[in-house]
Amino acid sequence: MTPALELRGITKRFGRLTANEDVTLTLAQGEILALLGENGAGKTTLMNILFGHYMADSGTVRVFGQDLPPGQPRAAIDAGIGMVHQHFTLAENLSVLDNVILGSEPLTRLRSARAEATQKLVHLSRKFGLPVDPEARVARLSVGERQRVEILKALYRDARVLILDEPTAVLARPEAERLFQTLGDMTREGLSLVFISHKLHEVMAASHRVAVLRGGKLVAERKTTETGPEELAELMVGRRVNRPVRKAAAPGAPVLVADTVRVDVDGQTQLDGVSFTVHAGEILGIVGVSGNRQAVLGAVLSGLTQPSAGRLTLGGQDAAGLSPRDLIRAGVGRVPEDRHADGVVGDLPLWENAVLEHLGSGEFSRRGFVRPGACTAFAGDLIARYDVRGAAPDTRTRLLSGGNMQKLILGRVLAKKPRFLLANQPTRGLDEGAIAAVHAELLKARSEGAAILLISEELDEVIALSDRIQAIVKGRLSEPVAAEAADPQRLGLMMAGVWTEDAHAS
């Protein structure tokens, strides 16, 4: 049988960076191929070449035996390739049907054939087990449903090869398992799938075959049944990386206490009845699926949003209503969720970002004038102490890699010895080496007595670092469970909101 997809000798360079080097890969018909690799390994670039978003410097793409003209997304779609992006590309104000047919109709036609389209959509949704209401407005759909719409959008365009980019990033565990089941059903209907991921257990659960990318090169291909998570981890990272291990320690006094905090944003209740206590020398993990208002919780503890009700105290003193600057002065360190949007000003040099939080203090300025000597000395110190690589104080911050940018942000916060540290998705998008470094710094701060609130979507991370864990679901927090009592199954259920039903049942 002709392979569904053949990539031959694909090479793509961006300036000095080689994103893909001589990658050769085939996808058999009816197969699920997992493309595994760390962030920056070149997975997305490879798929963008396949889909015609980028042009390869060399190499060819064949779909069902036919050469694909490079750099033409239209040609890729016509050849039967569909792509489901990690970040959805749906128009929220339109209905499911509108979103599905958008762009697939000729512009010259005055009326759209909605009846036919509805019929086709309903047929597809039955055939592949993807239930949706064609008339529902996308804004009202859950993330799981939106993903189904994205998949249907591709199928509606007669895709026979489907590429899914990190499809589980936004799904709770039960939803993810359901997706894997659907993927299996789809291959039985004759579809071929490429499934991009950096999560080992998903790759093991969902794929037939695994291709591992590292540094832009294809380093290994394995049948899923003939490999295991340990081998794949080592192939992906290129060496054994041991994440640091938390040692049990007795926590100190409460530092940050939230008592039934409610937060309304534009008249809508975003957080409700949120209570937690973070003690000195303790990491409290808040785990949750993406989009369950972790961002609002982070904004409140960063001073960007004010609580509407409830009490928030820092070291026994009222901390509600403090501005970011007040919080910084009160000894709060904050690591933002999105390091590019909130963490650094990319176009400023590293040293200005290093001191921006403390610019008004006597250390870095005098009578309103910046002291460049003191600032660059501090920045140089951060670079050395927190191992920020490939950077000097006057490097434009935009040029740092994600991991090094995060080390800079963490360093500028930790250098001031905060008594409370908010770490919001501190390892998102980082490679294994950088994750281990960030974990080590968080544990070090904990052992030095900092009270740390860790907000994360990575179950493994929360279990590894936290002393106690609470789940966040739709802006509400579960009761805390001790790390020793938490296993992935129980936490998975908590993240799906099962504890709320428990509470009602008992």
Partner: protein, 347 residues
Amino acid sequence: MRLERRTDAPLHLLILAPLTAVAAALVLAAGLIAVAGVNPVSAYGEMLQGALGSRLAITEMLTRATPLVLTGLAAAVAFRARLWNIGGEGQFFVGALITAWFGHALALPGWAGVPVLMVAGMAAGAALLVGPTLLRLRFGVDEVVTTLLLNFIVILFVGLMIEGPLRDPLAFGWPQSVPVDGDLRLPDLVARTRLHIGLLFAILAAGLVWLILARTVFGTEARAAGLNASAAAFAGVSLPRTLLGVAVLSGALAGLAGSIEVMGVTASVTTTMSPGFGYAGIVVAMLAALHPAGVVAAAIFVATIFVGADAMSRATGVPSFIADVIVALCLLTMLVALLFTTHRIRR
């Protein structure tokens, strides 16, 4: 063909960008000059001759550059912080009006009067920009609209004043305001020309603005707020306070331009005293890539076009409005050129 973001903007591109933009604008304008039936090469020759060809021409050009440096700085400071101050023209006029009024009504001695009038002009310009800034901060009103429309209101108000309370009774019905007292006129920089010491104030202002932006806490925070407002807010920068500070500085610079123009050149205010100094300041700032030192160079360039176009018009008959066309084209070509400093074309 598509645009790809560059990882870094090399310095030679940043210097090349305005030069290329100017060259492209001149080529485009050459087409129009040809349509007017004149050889573009000789027309540009007349232009250069008229702006730089003699001692007098150069002093005229520098006289014209003086307010442009200040309005250019006003735009540069505001744009750096993403405060879109399009109201330089209005701020120029309120600065000019206050200066003429106070300079006539208050019997000030020269040594004290000049600084007092400058501060008054700056305060008036600042006040005119603080209003729209507050509206943006409080209600999210787009300052592009408010500052732009205020220009027309201010110019009509100036018209009202010089036809009414501030009318010069000795001007034989000519619509101009009362003049500032003679000892409040700025001394000449070059004898028997119109060039006055205001040019030195403008260059000094450029140095001060550079110092503020590059070396003060306020300037650093303003730049951070302009480049990434949410990261600046996260780091504890108060956006309202920073933007208001920027509004005061920007409005004051444009107001100072009006004040100096009255004390240095016109003595009284007319509604035609500005050939669009406020608007041209925007072009100056963009050509300078918002850098204070570049503002001085760009102001000299734009003044050369303005003064040279008058001479060209007299010699060749091409309407002097071509100056406005060239300056406007420069803005457009510079915007394109700036795109290429941050992006590259990929095939």
